[in-house]
């Protein structure tokens, strides 16, 4: 008897585990890799826009007013990381050049008393520094990022203190080039936990010579005032539409460009992501299916949800979310083409759509609900 019960028990247990496995623990790794033709900020050679910031940085450097810490803040994808790596490469390649000016047999050659000031922070991709910064293999550069969580298979939502604690040992070793720069780039600095921020403060309070800390933050307000006061804050403005348009040319069909520019709201990173073939299709279809909020073709929505709602399509689902929220907020602000019926609805109704949509997405996220429901539910809000 006991045998039998044991068996049944085991079986039950197994089924339960399987289910849990599938829903909770077997999440596909989030693919945060950009589309193949889009280089990561580390390997991006060209900076778009932000020339005044570049001049400001050069001015500070030439006039020996370089701080120990920078906060680069602004929209995601606007060019903060690109600028940070550009600055790092520039400083490293300068270090190497000054070292090269020593003679073949160790004697120091006469150096120009005042090196000619550079007009930009550009470093050629043929410079050896470029490849090493891109691969993460520069001994004087430390990159701190949100770590990959092996338990959930996703990038963690916050920057834990263990990551920040890597900075002190790095700063306390000599640079690999004599009196060279040591640079730490903290990405997503606004997701630092409270203890991470306090740990970072310890370094900002007593920075070593020729050390530079660049904090990249999408929401500078999330940083402690004490961190703020020890860094030079450089806000990155959204890019002008023309700059984005130029970068989009040839990447997607021309008729989609105005829509993508409007959705990107000044973020080049977002625009390039939206312009990627599959993503642009998704955006077009998602908006098309809305049909001004009446007579929704549920059959088509079902097919659409089945297609994009399956596992491993995290990027598509995120872009779907961003698209729907953008439409909803466009309707509230009357800043979207089409959707005349929804736009003419009373403000209360429009706000309700927007809020309901947010609540729906939050619920799907926190409850880890079926992704097909995430898509279908969003349309229900508009109906």
């Amino acid at each position: 008897m006991t045998m039998l019960f044991d068996n049944i028990d085991d079986e039950d247990h197994k089924i339960f585990l399987d289910e849990e496995d599938e829903n909770l623990f077997d999440l596909p790794p989030q693919s945060s890799a950009p589309p193949a033709d889009m280089p990561t900020p580390r390997a991006t050679e060209i900076l778009i826009g932000h020339t005044s910031i570049e001049q400001q940085l050069l001015y500070m450097l030439d006039h020996h007013r370089f701080p120990h810490g920078f906060i680069f803040s602004g929209l995601e994808g606007v060019g903060k990381s690109v600028m940070a790596y550009r600055l790092a490469r520039y400083l490293f390649s300068k270090d190497h050049k000054s070292e090269d000016s020593s003679g073949l047999f160790g004697e120091t050659l006469a150096r120009p008393s005042s090196p000619t000031p550079s007009s930009s922070l550009y470093t050629s991709p043929t410079d050896p520094v470029f490849a090493r910064v891109a691969s993460g293999g520069n001994p004087d550069l430390l990159l701190i990022e949100r770590p990959f969580d092996e338990k959930t298979g996703r990038i963690r939502g916050s920057l834990p203190v263990e990551e920040i604690r890597k900075i002190a040992p790095f700063m306390r070793k000599t640079a690999s080039v004599e009196s060279g720069w040591r640079i730490v780039i903290v990405d997503d600095a606004d997701t630092m936990t409270r203890s991470s921020q306090n740990s970072l403060l310890k370094i900002l309070e007593e920075p070593p010579e020729k050390a530079l800390l660049i904090l990249i933050a999408h929401r500078a307000g999330a940083l402690l005032p004490t961190i703020y006061s020890r860094c030079v804050h450089i806000p990155f403005a959204p890019l002008p539409d023309d700059d984005i348009r130029r970068s989009l040319l040839g990447r997607c069909p021309d008729h989609q460009i105005p829509l993508i520019i409007s959705m990107a709201e000044g973020s080049l990173g977002a625009a390039l992501e939206y312009a990627d073939g599959q993503h642009a299709d998704l955006i077009g279809q998602a908006i098309g299916l809305l049909q001004d909020g009446q007579g929704l073709r549920w059959n088509d929505i079902q097919i659409f949800a089945d297609f994009f709602g399956n596992k491993g399509n995290d990027d598509s689902q995120r872009i779907f979310k961003e698209t729907m929220l953008w439409v909803a907020s466009g309707i509230v602000r009357n800043k979207i083409n089409g959707f005349d019926r929804l736009k003419s609805a009373p403000l209360g109704r429009k706000l309700k759509i927007h809020d309901d949509l947010r609540i729906h997405f939050d619920k799907c996220q926190s409850g880890n609900l079926d992704k097909r429901f995430l898509i279908m539910g969003a349309y229900m809000v508009f109906e």
Binding site: E99, G106, P128, S135, G137, P169, R172, A175, S176, E178
Partner: protein, 372 residues
């Protein structure tokens, strides 16, 4: 690139260089070894961005070139090949793979671009001198146990090496301390080391170089600059960053006025401390030493386990004295004393004690007492 080489020679070199590679690095290029084949020599390099290790071995070079390959995997493969086999490595024409062949085995390993590999940059080394391997071994062994691991006083996380003068003789001095104990080792100043900058060699570098010294030949050439140190011997070059900090003025904590001298057999002393400290509890592992004429009583008390007492014979001219020490710290020091006698120079129960080997004046240890 193509070359063939004896399995044993390649395995030996790979075993050396792969010990620097961090097992859990998030930067892919750091888990790779850089292989350079040129002029009858194969050069292998690895780095963790703080230390760079390079070893050159003779190889049969068919076509010179450079490539990177995953260090640990390559080491495992070579290790599993049968002894006395000849290994052939070749770069795939596509440039993305390296093939490793021995006998009938054939492996294809993925490779990363050579340009991604970190460079420590040449730079100048104004100071260079050489020391005997045995001396460098002694220097590290006598001091490494006292290195601190505490992050806040980062400038103590290594061995401080500098040129100094002791009673009119120029010496090369190594010092390490964690605030509770201090170890100082001296040797005659090697030629060329005069005027060297005082440098702090980081903990990991100390341990890596010590591993290599196990099988090192006679002479080690050391080169120094303000930001890097290089050790060179038997075709191995280890270059390391240094700790960017100021070592505290350790001379101040070496007491000059201690007048009570006690001599004891280090082996008897060590084993007695070891036995008695079985009883001591807590982190401090306190052992009390009571001196009375020619006897020394070691005792330990614990509220939970009980008490222990052991008497040993000593040579001493001093009056009675009671002093407490951390047993582990005391053992660390007495285990460094190889000679016949261990000399303790004390002052009182709250002042630091000097411990020395009676037959070897090159090393000196200072230990802070515990209140017991």
């Amino acid at each position: 690139m193509k070359f063939s080489i004896d399995r044993a020679a390649l395995l030996r070199a790979l075993a050396h260089v792969q010990s620097v590679v961090e097992r859990r690095s998030t930067i892919p290029i750091l888990s790779n070894v850089l292989l350079k084949a040129d002029d009858g020599m194969l050069t292998l390099s690895t780095t963790d961005m703080d230390i760079e290790m390079t070893e050159a071995i003779a190889a049969d070079i068919a076509k010179p070139g450079q490539i990177t390959a995953p260090a640990v995997t390559l080491h495992d493969i070579i290790r599993k090949f049968p002894d006395l086999s000849k290994v052939t490595l070749e770069l795939d024409p596509s440039g993305n793979f390296i093939t490793v062949k021995a006998g009938r085995s054939d492996f294809r390993l993925s490779s990363l671009p050579v340009s991604d590999f970190p460079q420590f940059g040449g730079g100048e080394f104004p100071t260079s001198f050489s020391v005997r391997a045995a001396d460098l071994r002694a220097l590290i062994d006598r001091t490494k146990f006292a290195m601190s691991t505490e992050e806040t006083r980062y400038y103590l996380n290594g061995i401080y090496i500098h040129a100094a003068e002791n009673e009119g003789v120029d010496v090369l001095r190594a010092v390490s301390t964690d605030g509770h104990r201090l170890a100082r080792f001296e040797m005659p100043l090697p030629e060329g080391a005069a005027g060297m900058p005082g440098v702090i060699i980081p903990r990991k570098t100390v341990l890596e170089i010590r591993k290599l010294l196990e099988e090192a030949a006679d002479e080690i050439s050391i080169k120094l600059s303000a930001n890097k140190i290089t050790f060179e011997f038997d075709h191995i070059v280890l270059t390391s960053k240094l700790i960017d900090g100021t070592f505290p003025d350790y001379q101040r904590v070496i007491p000059a006025g201690n007048d009570k001298v006690v001599e004891v057999d280090p082996k008897i002393f060590s084993s007695a401390i070891d036995r008695v400290s079985t009883i001591s509890d807590g982190k401090s592992r306190a052992v009390k030493i009571t001196l009375n004429g020619k006897t020394m009583v070691l005792s330990a008390n614990s509220a939970e386990s009980g008490s222990a007492k052991e008497e040993i014979e000593v040579q001493s001219e001093t009056e009675a004295l009671e002093i407490g020490f951390n047993a582990r710290y005391l053992l660390d020091i007495t285990s460094q004393v190889d000679g016949e006698g261990c000399r303790l120079t004390l002052s009182d129960a709250s002042s630091p004690t000097i411990i020395q080997d009676t037959s070897d004046p090159s090393s000196l240890y200072v230990l802070m007492p515990l209140r017991v």
